[in-house]
Symmetry: C2
Subunit: 200 residues, 2 copies
């Protein structure tokens, strides 16, 4: 870059540009914002980024991100230990928790099978899930991988892996999103909604 930009500014712009969805323009804007903002913001941010990995780990049961192992959900004796929702990522756990309707446990795969990206079953927490199911009290595994090619492939793989265990394996329904509009919905979603139609 031009010598009009000091090195520490260039360094931060480059580091921020490595984050997903942040291009060089956004990175410059954020950097110059931090320059003008109170020192406290930079300190808080640098500290929080430093603590993020240092103070968190995977739960050894469900592989969600946690400060303590086991995580608060796995440690909660009031939760239903017969159901396990399988998700791709920690943010999916949050989404399910926000419904307020699910009282069972989770299992975080940390990705989905994607041959294009070189991600196979061994790169995910699938073996750990199979072992966990064989070991125990679980009656139903609810697969909540993303609706899409990779999530579908992962769901099918899981179903085959879990077949021998005799546990019930279900998958979240596909159909019209609530508040959506039939006129504007994409054809694949509409097709799935037809396939999944039920008597009223």
């Amino acid at each position: 870059m031009s010598k009009a930009i000091p090195q520490p500014v260039t360094d931060l712009i480059e580091a921020l540009s490595r984050l997903p969805g942040i291009g060089p323009k956004t990175a410059s804007r954020l950097t110059y914002y931090l320059l003008r903002a109170p020192d406290e913001l930079s300190l808080t941010l640098a500290g929080a980024i430093g603590d993020l990995k240092a103070k968190t780990r995977y739960c050894s049961t469900c592989f969600n991100i946690t400060e303590n192992d086991p995580c608060p959900i796995c440690a909660d004796t009031h939760r239903d230990r017969t159901q396990v929702v399988v998700v791709e990522a920690p943010l999916d756990v949050l989404a399910v928790e926000r419904t307020g309707a699910y009282r069972g446990l989770y299992h975080v795969l940390h990705g989905a099978i994607s041959p294009v990206d070189g991600i196979g079953p061994d790169d995910l927490k699938i073996r750990e899930l199979v072992v966990r199911i064989q070991a125990g009290d679980v009656l139903e595994v609810i697969i909540a991988t993303n609706p899409g090619m990779e999530g579908d492939a992962t769901a099918m793989y899981l179903q085959r892996q879990l077949a021998a265990s005799g546990v019930k394996v279900t998958r979240l329904a596909r159909g019209l999103p609530t508040g959506g509009d039939v006129e504007y919905v994409d054809p694949v979603t509409l097709l799935r909604a037809f396939e999944g139609r039920h008597e009223m």
Copy 2:
């Protein structure tokens, strides 16, 4: 937030949400990205944020952000010391530098006059500009504040403050942006283009 989220994760989401243009959703996405990314990225980012303020300062002449005082532009003996472009922010200096056509100096105001936001002339580097112009070799001050209400108010204020110094005060032309389309341009810009029309 839910107990499904460990504190270090919440802390970083909150800190990132304080940045402009980053809402809670983007902040979560970035946080969970950092959790999955190699430690090196978090370390680089935390380091770069820490260094940003620690290793930079304002140039005591032009008030651009710099590692060394005076900044490389002010220190460059090959630049034309008779012209000063006045801008609102350091990123504006970069924009002018990118044209490759300007060889003079700069003055960064660090904002624009905005009564709504409680920003008056004393909050900007205006007095420093007046002193700088009185002191010296400058023949022309080119005002390059943003085209808009606040930039216009700032430009008018500067013009009055600099009138006594006898220096030539100019402002960047307003008109149609190159590559723009008369059909889609906003009315104010079109009006300015009419006002600024010149014989061919």
